[in-house]
């Protein structure tokens, strides 16, 4: 065991960057390999919702609690790129109102602060809401800039010596005779050269591509690749995040970000997520739902539309009922392959927590005693990532 253990992280999305931040705080040498640019995969495309957890408090309490805890941590450590104006869960019809008791119960169980408002009160707060709003709940939702949150974690890790190599694609794993992963084979896309990088632990933080990397070592993770569409409109119709008060469905979140309103999302399965075209029919269906919440968006100009593929942990069910929580996988346990862990699933809001669990597992496997410090360490300025 060398003085300074070296962790190689594949993937520079939220998970990879946050794990680099955590491990460097625990004294690790860290190398992050990313085939694209920071947050150029799923992470960059998040609509930026800093979840209060209320969306999951009824059906998935675990995810709900994770979200509210991490919401509070991120507001402390990543203030630089968060607009925090709260959010509303809005009831438009009797079916929505019937969901309210479960919602309140779930929120309390997950210690998510909610405040009940009449329809009229909600309209006073957000005049562009559908005037037939019957009931609403104020929650501590926020909005973050996707790229800058990842950059902030990366910048912090870089300050403590982490090396980030964007445009470097992992082509294969280097495995020794004792079924231990020793490193990776890398293709530098800026020069065409291929070479090896060796380390003490390989962390697969490639999110929705985790299965592809695992397959390089003849191992696997139970993952469903689940794309969904998002649409950005040219109007900041509300100051707060607007959610539909009901079970999670399509087009039931509208997020204000800069001068836009971003609507999300849908959910379907795919097998190749390197490039997914926007399905216009999905956009139409999703917009129909969203326009119910904010009718003013019907007149707004569509600024952009894109697909984002989420990794959902497969508990053998379809689409939405897949778990929105995250999981660390030790490939020693799965297929006897040492020196290799995978972290996948989860949501952007829980990236710090995901990194903590991953770093805990890495430390445990390497016999390193080091506590997690990321709850308290305020992140460096995201621009510092670009310092050479």
């Amino acid at each position: 065991m060398p003085d300074q253990p070296h962790a190689i992280i594949i993937g520079a999305g939220f998970t990879g960057c946050a794990t680099a931040h955590d491990l460097t705080l625990r004294g690790f040498k860290v190398t992050v390999l990313e085939r694209g640019e920071i947050a150029s995969g799923t992470s960059g495309r998040t609509h930026g919702l800093l979840h209060s957890g209320a969306r999951y408090c009824v059906s998935e309490a675990e995810a709900g609690i994770e979200c509210i805890d991490e919401n509070i941590f991120l507001r402390k450590i990543a203030k630089q790129c968060i607009e925090f104006n709260g959010g509303l869960f809005v009831a438009l019809n009797e079916a929505d109102v019937a969901y309210a008791p479960r919602f309140i119960e779930g929120a309390h169980a997950c210690h998510i602060p909610v405040e009940e408002l009449t329809g009229k009160a909600a309209l006073r707060l957000e005049p562009n809401l559908n005037p037939k709003v019957l009931l609403a709940y104020l929650v501590p939702d926020g909005v973050f800039d996707p790229l800058r949150l990842a950059l902030a974690f990366a910048a912090s890790a870089k300050q403590r010596g982490a090396q980030f190599w964007p445009y470097h694609q992992v082509k294969g794993l280097v495995i020794d005779g004792q079924k231990q992963v020793r490193g990776v084979r890398v293709w530098d896309r800026t020069s065409g050269k291929e070479f090896e990088v060796r380390g003490d632990m390989l962390v697969n933080a490639t999110g929705v591509w985790a299965g592809e990397i695992a397959a390089m070592g003849n191992t696997s993770v139970p993952l469903k690749q689940t794309p969904g569409v998002m649409v950005a409109f040219d109007q900041r119709a509300t100051q707060r995040v607007i959610n539909r008060l009901n079970e999670p469905g399509d087009g039931d979140i509208i997020i204000p970000q800069r001068r836009m309103a971003v609507i999300g999302t849908t959910s379907f399965e795919a097998t190749d997520v390197d490039y997914i075209p926007v399905l216009k029919e999905q956009v139409r269906q999703m917009n129909t739902e969203a326009f119910e919440l904010l009718p003013i968006l019907r007149q707004a100009h569509m600024r952009g539309a894109y697909m984002s593929a989420r990794p959902l942990i497969d508990s053998s069910e379809e689409g939405r009922s897949l778990s929105r929580t995250f999981k660390c996988y030790d490939h020693q346990e799965i297929s006897g392959l040492g020196g290799f862990v995978t972290i996948t699933g989860g949501k952007a809001t829980t990236c710090r927590g995901m990194a903590e669990k991953t770093a805990d597992l890495v430390c445990q496997k390497l016999g390193v005693r080091a506590e997690c410090q990321t709850r308290d360490v305020v992140l460096s300025s995201y621009r510092d990532y670009y310092q050479n």
Binding site: N85, R148, Q239, R259, M260, K280, G304
Partner: protein, 243 residues
Amino acid sequence: MNVEKWKVTFVVSRQKNQEPRLYQSFQLEIDPDEYVLDGVERIWAFHDRSLTYRHACHHSTCGACGMLVNGVEKLTCITSIRSVTHNGGTLKVEPLRNFAVVSDLVVDMSNFYTHLEAAQFGQVASLAQAALPHDADTRSVTDGEFERLVDCIECGLCVSACPSALTSETYYGPAVLAAAQQAFNQSKNSALIHFADQHDGAWGCHSAYECSAVCPSNVDPAWRIMDLRKKTLAYRIKQLFRK
């Protein structure tokens, strides 16, 4: 479901290892309502995996995907193919000007970010501070203090279009000066006046106004630079009388 498809020739700038620039053509059959960035992504995904480019959010908040499209600075995630070419036409994609090329469409913006940091520019501000005084677009119609991510997404399109940035490596550039103006409005820190009051600062601008013309995000850097000059002058005059 019939989706309209256009035949478009993407002509993409390729450059590796400090070698001279080459243009590579790719024939794509593509829905014209897709964005230029979608075209670039398709080329990477289905034609040439060695193509390097920057992108993250795909909805004009991160500023990563700025490129030259047919010679004009554009944020490629919100620039539809329909708006820049026609069926059977070409679409030229090149990296932004005035930054050294790292690889293909990726440029080195580290100096840019260092200066933005020196301008003490924060990404989150109150609604009033975030927008221009003559632009009421995002003011809240209700009571309450709200904050939002500001307009400038640090994409660098303005620097690419600026003739002063074309010939001077040390000129701060429109984004940095606009950032200093916004930061000064919020903090009234006189250090920012000193920052701007340089040959390479606000006085390096020569009124081409192309920065504001290409800005995809309502920043109006030209207006902000002139406003910063006004404030610098006012400060200097006040200093004279204090003596």
